[in-house]
């Protein structure tokens, strides 16, 4: 049994012999005898430059895990012997398990196969149908490849996680590489780059583009390396961070002279460190892909619709001193610990009073039928920012609710919204929307309509600003800026202005509310 040390020495000698012959520009040597590197055995080295370049590393830099990881793989890749490559298809076989179908189901019955052994399968192609409890479900393929072995037959019960079938997943095809062994050995450095690039190109051409996370792509960009030229060592040929770093190091090595001195090794070491430092930085700028779900998706849909509507915006300032006093007095008289008085319910009620006088703002426009429907109920929607996104539940029939009832209903909707428990009825049927963006901040906003409504009101934050009274006397006043967005196909500036004046009157002089109360 040859010990590893002796093997390494034999190998090193073989390499040195070859290098000398290379420098003399002679024809390629005959293949060296079979040697073992770790667990891999190779029948021959028809592309010795690559072997030599990497062979140095494990013996001189045993501690460098990075290179250790890379070398056996790279040598394999560069070994243009068909026998060695016969091993590759075995490593290309993937077991496809019965995946979790999004619930706690432990097993399914296999109903039928859509494919058979030997069939070519595309990504997302249906493979089989299973039954779990009440549902029949089509299982589709994650990979593109060939079915190599079907494990179960229709009628079998398959546990979740068990292998359903095995597939040969397409990656670099071994046979393609045989013809590409470079015959001319000009400079070792060039050979290293060329061969690895060739290998990568072939791999790339087979898969049509590399798999890599955005962070890894970013890293490759930082180094100025083409990610498509990098050999991936991850699952399915995925390019990993280590692969990019190794490739960058290789490129650095490529530029080095061919002498295998200690200096070059040190330089290699040095570059390694450098690349590691950069890598650490690289991880900080990771892009993140956010899937569009739930409220976000609804927002995209409704805002896309809103973009088609000709908006105009009307801005007004409202003096809320009286409202501040009113709220304070409500709170003082409040005996119910469940109830917390805020400005919003009063604004909602006064809004409804103004709508009674200007009902056109409480309507819906149907573009197809070119019809305006003036809505009978004042269903006032309140925009709410929840952890799940923007949602607009509405309070139904505000005109028949008291301010206290509105307060309670608002609290109920707010709680449900935060818990993501609103039911469809809560968020449908709105006729006008109020957006209290001032609760978060800002002077005023420029709101977009909540189609098919024709008006929306954004309320800014209450700000204490100096106001003039008659001759130059100043007093502080709580001023709130509102911005009314309106559909110009239905409403004109005059109508909105008058409506706003009416609403402003109720807020600035709450006693007027009593005058019109029924």
């Amino acid at each position: 049994m040859i010990s590893r040390g002796i093997l390494q020495q034999k190998f090193r000698n073989a390499i040195r012999r070859w290098l000398r012959s290379c420098a003399a520009q002679t024809s390629p040597l005959s293949p060296s005898p079979v040697v073992s590197l770790g667990n891999s055995s190779y029948i021959g080295f028809s592309s010795q430059p690559i072997v030599s370049r990497y062979a140095m590393a494990p013996f001189s830099m045993v501690n460098d895990k990075l290179m250790d990881l890379n070398i056996p793989y790279t040598i394999k890749r560069s070994c243009f012997s068909s026998h060695a490559l016969l091993d590759l298809p075995a490593s290309g076989i993937v077991s496809i398990p019965l995946a979790q179908t999004g619930e706690g189901i432990a097993e399914c019955e296999l109903l039928k196969w859509f494919v058979k052994e030997g069939d070519q399968v595309e990504e997302f192609q249906p493979l089989c149908e299973v039954q779990s409890d009440k549902a029949t479900i089509e299982i589709t393929s994650r990979y593109k490849g060939t079915v190599s072995q079907i494990i179960y037959v229709p009628g079998d019960i398959v546990k979740v996680g068990e292998t359903l079938l095995k597939m040969v997943v397409e990656e670099s095809q071994g046979s393609n590489l045989t013809s590409d062994a470079p015959d001319d050995m000009k400079s070792m450095g060039a050979e290293v780059c060329d061969s690895s690039i060739q290998g990568s190109d072939l791999r790339n051409s087979n898969t049509g583009g590399v798999l890599a996370t955005p962070a890894v792509r970013n890293l490759a960009k930082q180094y100025g390396v083409d990610i498509n030229h990098i050999l991936g060592t991850g699952k399915d040929g995925r390019v990993l961070k280590e692969d990019v770093l190794t490739h960058a190091v290789q490129k650095g090595l490529c530029k080095e002279p061919s002498s295998l001195s200690v200096n070059s090794v040190e330089h290699f070491q040095g570059e390694e460190k450098y690349s590691h430092t950069l890598a650490a930085d690289g991880w900080q700028y990771e892009d993140k892909t956010v899937p569009i779900r739930g409220f976000q998706r609804a927002m995209i849909k409704s805002m896309t619709l809103a973009a088609k509507i000709p908006h105009f915006h009307y801005v007004e300032e409202i003096n809320c001193d009286a409202l501040v006093k009113l709220k304070a007095s409500f709170q003082e008289e409040n005996r119910d610990p469940e109830v917390k008085h805020t400005f919003l319910p009063f604004m909602i009620k006064t809004l409804s009073m103004a709508l009674s006088k200007y009902p056109l703002l409480n309507s819906c426009f149907n573009e197809e039928l070119q019809e305006i429907t003036v809505k009978g109920s004042h269903n006032v929607g309140i925009a709410m920012a929840t952890p799940h996104g923007l949602v607009v539940p509405n309070i139904k029939r505000v005109q028949s609710l008291s301010i206290l009832e509105i307060t309670k209903e608002l609290a109920r909707l707010q709680q449900l919204a935060l818990a993501n428990n609103l039911c469809p009825e809560d968020i449908s049927g709105g006729t006008i929307t109020l957006s209290n963006i001032g609760a978060i901040g800002g002077k005023f906003g420029s709101p977009l309509l909540n189609s098919p409504e024709v008006s929306i009101i954004a309320i800014g934050r209450l700000q204490k600003v100096p106001q003039f009274v008659d001759d130059e006397n100043m007093y502080p006043a709580s001023i709130m800026t509102v911005n009314i967005g309106a559909d110009h196909r239905v409403l004109d500036g005059a109508t909105v202005a008058r409506f706003c004046n009416e609403w402003k009157l109720y807020i600035e002089k709450p006693e007027q509310l009593m005058l019109h109360m029924k």
């Binding site: 179908t101 999004g102 619930e103 189901i105 019955e109 109903l111 997302f124 249906p126 039954q131 779990s132 409890d133 009440k134 549902a135 029949t136 479900i137 089509e138 589709t140 009628g155 779900r293 739930g294 409220f295 998706r297 609804a298 849909k301 409704s302 619709l305 819906c364 426009f365 149907n366 573009e367 197809e368 039928l369 019809e371 429907t373 039911c423 469809p424 009825e425 449908s428 049927g429 189609s451 098919p452």
Partner: protein, 268 residues
């Protein structure tokens, strides 16, 4: 009509087919065809089917689920449908509601059995609000702990179907064709059929149910009724249906096998 249209601007379109008394085999054929060949969203409501029929799930074995002697004697048709789930006896007292949707038709809904089941229960909660103690129990619709609606689904690459048979009314003697199933929900606790199920007519009028269902659907979809004759759907298609009416020979063979096995086990 105007009001519902304006409310539904922005919602995905769903075509509504309203039938009454259409044979369940034709309904199932249409459903499967729409699931596999259409790219639109559909709602099919069949208010009662014509003759009493037994409908098993896709992997249903007649000998295990049915009292075959009575079934054969009374010449009750037996269908094996293309969706999973259990066995039901349907007749003119059964109301069928089916949803066939593209996988992204309902925003945020994942195309898996449980999420679809949950979403359907939200929809029906709107329908039954104020009429009974409605809930989704395991995979059934119940009032309290009595089942009145059974569900089944099929999920393909880009679409899914969820259909329900509602027991508005039933005849006790029809239930007698079904054996106690080996696979049953836990809440059933080995109750026999008549103890386990209840009649929807004790809770709400039939037409009210259909109208409220359509209204509930309108909160998710822009509903457009379409006229579709049951007969013409089958004549023109070359589509190969999975739903099959079992022949008398098949049922007899199943009955024979089961008698034979019983005989064998006795002799041993």
């Amino acid at each position: 009509m105007t009001i519902s249209q304006t409310r539904n601007v922005g919602l995905p379109l769903m075509k509504l087919v309203r039938w009454k008394g259409v044979p369940i085999l034709q309904q199932l054929h249409l459903e499967e065809q729409l699931l596999r060949t259409s790219s639109e969203n559909w709602c099919i409501i069949n208010d009662g089917t014509n003759d009493p029929t037994i409908v098993m799930g896709i992997s249903g074995k007649p000998a295990q689920l049915l009292k075959l002697d009575s079934v054969l004697n009374d010449r009750i048709p037996v269908i094996r449908r293309y969706t999973g789930g259990g066995t039901v006896v349907v007749d003119c007292g059964t109301v069928f509601v089916t949803f066939i949707c593209n996988k992204d038709a309902v925003p945020g809904l994942q195309p898996y059995p449980q999420p679809i089941m949950s979403w359907s229960s939200l929809l029906y909660a709107l329908v039954f609000r104020g009429f009974g103690d409605f809930s989704l129990r395991e995979n059934d619709y119940v009032f309290g702990n009595h089942k009145f609606g059974g569900n089944a689904q099929s999920i393909t690459k880009n679409r899914w179907i969820h259909h329900t048979s509602f027991l508005w009314d039933y005849e006790a003697r029809n239930m007698a064709y079904l054996k106690l199933p080996a696979r049953a929900p836990e809440y059933r606790v080995a109750r026999d059929h008549l103890e386990f199920i209840c009649r929807m007519k004790d809770y709400m009028p039939r037409s009210v149910f259909v109208d409220r269902t359509i209204k509930a659907v309108e909160t998710y979809f822009s509903v457009r009724p379409v006229q579709l004759e049951a007969m013409e759907t089958n004549l023109n298609s070359k589509f190969s249906h999975s739903t099959k009416l079992l022949t008398e020979q098949e049922l007899e063979a199943a009955a024979f096998e089961s008698h034979f096995e019983k005989g064998l086990s006795h002799s041993l």
